[in-house]
């Protein structure tokens, strides 16, 4: 889960950073000639720079291999269910509130007034995906609902004094065993 990953990376690196600062602070009181130390520090810095570059570049490239914008191309042959979602102060209008578990859904998200944010939360209130809902533009968000049950739509962009009350629900149901048009 990306949230977990983000948290772990952040905590780990912050601890490392804290240790480095503590080490420097604890070794600051003694005095050493600066010139030789500076030379060593500059050499080390080059190493530090390249380490960062070597660590970040693969992460950067790898993290871009599957962007949420391209979700549509990820399920060839599985025609997504399309749901229109329009945000208003302060409610959502969805063209359907029911989706099928495992079948991709494409939300066509826009707004009838001002900027909102269309965020989908699973049964554990974990954010599984979002896009902005803005006037004059349609943002297409593709998601696959994995679990049966009720998902929630929350507003993710501040839109005035009832922003926190802008809720909608989406029911994810198991696929019907009867062969549907999908299988043709």
């Amino acid at each position: 889960m990306y949230q977990q990953l983000a948290w772990q990376i952040t905590v780990a690196l912050t601890v490392v950073l804290g240790l480095v600062f503590a080490f420097i602070a604890l070794n600051a009181g003694k005095w050493t000639e600066y010139a030789p130390l500076q030379m060593r520090a500059y050499r080390l810095r080059t190493g530090f720079f390249w380490t960062l570059v070597l660590l970040l570049t693969p992460v950067l490239v790898y993290s871009m291999s599957e962007l949420p914008y391209d979700a549509a191309h990820r399920h060839p042959g599985n025609k997504p269910q399309v749901i229109d979602a329009v945000g208003y102060q302060w409610y959502w209008i969805l063209s359907s509130n029911e989706v099928t578990v495992g079948r991709p859904v494409e939300f066509h998200v826009t707004s009838g007034d001002i900027n909102h944010g269309f965020g989908i939360y699973d049964q554990d209130m974990r954010l599984v995906g979002q896009t902005q809902a803005m006037p004059d533009y349609v943002n297409k968000l593709q998601l696959v609902f994995r679990k049966e049950g009720t998902y929630k739509v929350l507003c993710m962009e501040y839109c005035g004094i009832a922003h926190h009350n802008m809720l909608a629900e989406i029911r994810a149901v198991a696929p019907t065993p009867v062969p549907s048009e999908d299988n043709k």
Partner: protein, 484 residues
């Protein structure tokens, strides 16, 4: 007590610098109390209601950005004056315009009930659902325009002074040294940093002013509409650049004060110059990372947003943080409140860069954008970074620009500030981990525990900040006179 050498002839601060810092300190404390009130409301310990919550959120956001700008400008102006001739009149004019703007904003929010957040995202100011009217929104936006105008004047003066002294902005950025190999060292770090800030922030303020003007017209002539995506781009460009510029102004305190404490130079060598030239470009082109969830944006801009988010951390970490650590290591430095807070500020800035880069990753942003992760990362580098720089500068002046051993209360406050500050920001980050949306007046029951812990941390932070600000305010005479 050892009087530091290297101090400029004008070690004491001008009355103008002190007026900036006193204003910043007072507004800071008030805004922190508003912040605590928001946290307490989310924790359901107090109940002020959603309307009041969002009014306070609007004031806290714009007020804190203003505090950062005032504090940063005071630092930049104080030190830059050693190298170039700045106009004290324009410096004061900026403060006057600022305070006028603050009055308009306060009236717009507290009397007019404007609660459109400091980002005044178009077209919300004109669509309040009857909560505030157009005049309230206009008061807020005109207030912002006044503040922007003041800073624009200040930067124009800085530009005039730098060009007068160095010939051109390219020279002030050290390009002859960087690109043409003319000499080993460029202009002093303070000059280079000020040049970078003046370039990016002038562009930022002009963009901000243009969208504000368009929106003011739209308020009263709704048939004049604005493309909402263009408006978003302009607003976030302005917001990102403006708040970032405050840090690059404040970090001048680190470049100037740590060398005095350690008796070691902060050289403006080619690596330093390259870092600032890079930052000048990166700070301008990074802003699309605020728009990663606007799928309608051109794809290349969003990818650029992530790539530059990663790159932008490099100069900060490899040059400024690393430089501060190098200059301190085995320097025999005598710690006091000023040097301690400046070291803390380096930690805060670097620590804030980590969750910022994480969130600048598109796939992560997809599930963390506009959650509490966002205030989590920026409070880390604003509260523990930027504001710690301002506090460090305040102590430096209050101690007469020299080393003074810290007393018990100050030391206690330092550690309380550092520890509770970390606790406070990590409670936000934990909220991001738990998918709590930002800017929610009402939280679900399962989120309350962290809101409550954060409230305790926030109260401790405020107590420490109160000690810092009162200490400074009670030593204005020393600050004015410099070393006695």
């Amino acid at each position: 007590m050892s009087v530091l050498t290297h101090t400029s002839p004008r070690a004491g601060a001008t009355a103008g610098v002190l007026a900036y810092l006193v204003s910043a300190g007072a507004i800071l404390l008030l805004m922190m109390v508003f912040g605590l009130a928001m946290r307490l409301e989310q924790a359901q310990i107090i109940s002020i209601g959603a309307n009041r919550f969002y009014e306070l959120m609007t004031l806290h956001g714009i007020g804190m950005v203003g505090v950062a700008a005032l504090g940063g400008a005071a630092i930049m102006w104080h030190f830059l004056r050693q190298y170039v001739q700045l106009s004290p009149a324009l410096f004061i004019a900026n403060l006057v315009l600022f305070l006028l703007g603050v009055v308009l904003i306060l009236v717009g929010v507290l009397w007019g009930k404007f609660a459109g957040a400091w980002t005044f995202l178009y077209p919300m100011p004109g669509h309040s659902m009857g909560v505030w009217d157009n005049d309230a929104a206009a008061l807020f936006m005109v207030g912002l325009l006044l503040i922007g105008t003041g800073f624009l004047l200040l930067y124009l003066d800085v530009a005039r002074a730098l060009i007068g002294e160095y010939g051109s902005l390219a020279h002030a950025l050290g390009w002859p040294q960087l690109f043409l190999g003319k000499g080993k060292y460029g202009p002093p770090p303070t000059v280079v940093a000020s040049t970078m800030v003046l370039i990016v922030n002038t562009i930022g303020i002009v963009s901000g002013a243009s969208i504000l003007l368009m929106m003011l017209i739209n308020l009263y002539f709704p048939r004049f509409t604005i493309d909402p995506l263009l408006a978003k781009n302009l607003i976030y460009f302005f917001g990102h650049v403006f708040i970032n510029a405050t840090i690059y102004m404040a970090v001048i305190a680190v470049y100037e004060i740590l060398p005095r404490y350690t008796q070691r130079p902060w050289p403006s060598n080619r690596v330093f110059l390259a870092a600032f030239t890079a930052s000048t470009v990166l700070v301008i082109f990074i802003y699309p990372h605020h728009l990663l969830m606007d799928f309608a944006m051109p794809r290349w801009m969003l990818i650029m947003g992530q790539v530059i988010s990663y790159l932008n951390g490099l100069p900060v970490l490899v040059v400024t943080m690393y430089g501060a650590l190098t200059i301190i290591y085995r320097s025999g430095i005598k710690w006091d409140m000023a040097s301690g807070l400046l070291l803390l500020s380096m930690f805060g800035w670097a620590a804030g860069v980590i969750p910022a880069i994480v969130d600048g990753t598109i796939v992560i942003n997809h599930v963390m954008h506009n959650t509490l992760w966002v205030p989590g990362h920026f409070h880390t580098y604003l509260l523990l970074g930027m504001i710690a720089m301002v506090f460090g500068f305040m102590y430096y002046l209050a101690n007469g620009s020299r080393h003074v051993r810290a007393g018990m209360l100050d030391r206690l406050s330092f550690w309380a500030f550092a520890a509770a500050g970390m606790g406070f920001t990590f409670a936000f980050l934990y909220g991001g981990l738990s998918s709590v949306p930002r800017r929610y007046a009402v939280h679900l029951p399962e989120w309350l525990a962290y809101d409550r812990i954060a409230s305790v941390f926030a109260a401790v932070v405020i107590a420490a900040a109160l000690v810092f600000v009162v200490r400074f305010a009670s030593r204005l005479r020393t600050a004015r006179g410099g070393a006695t």
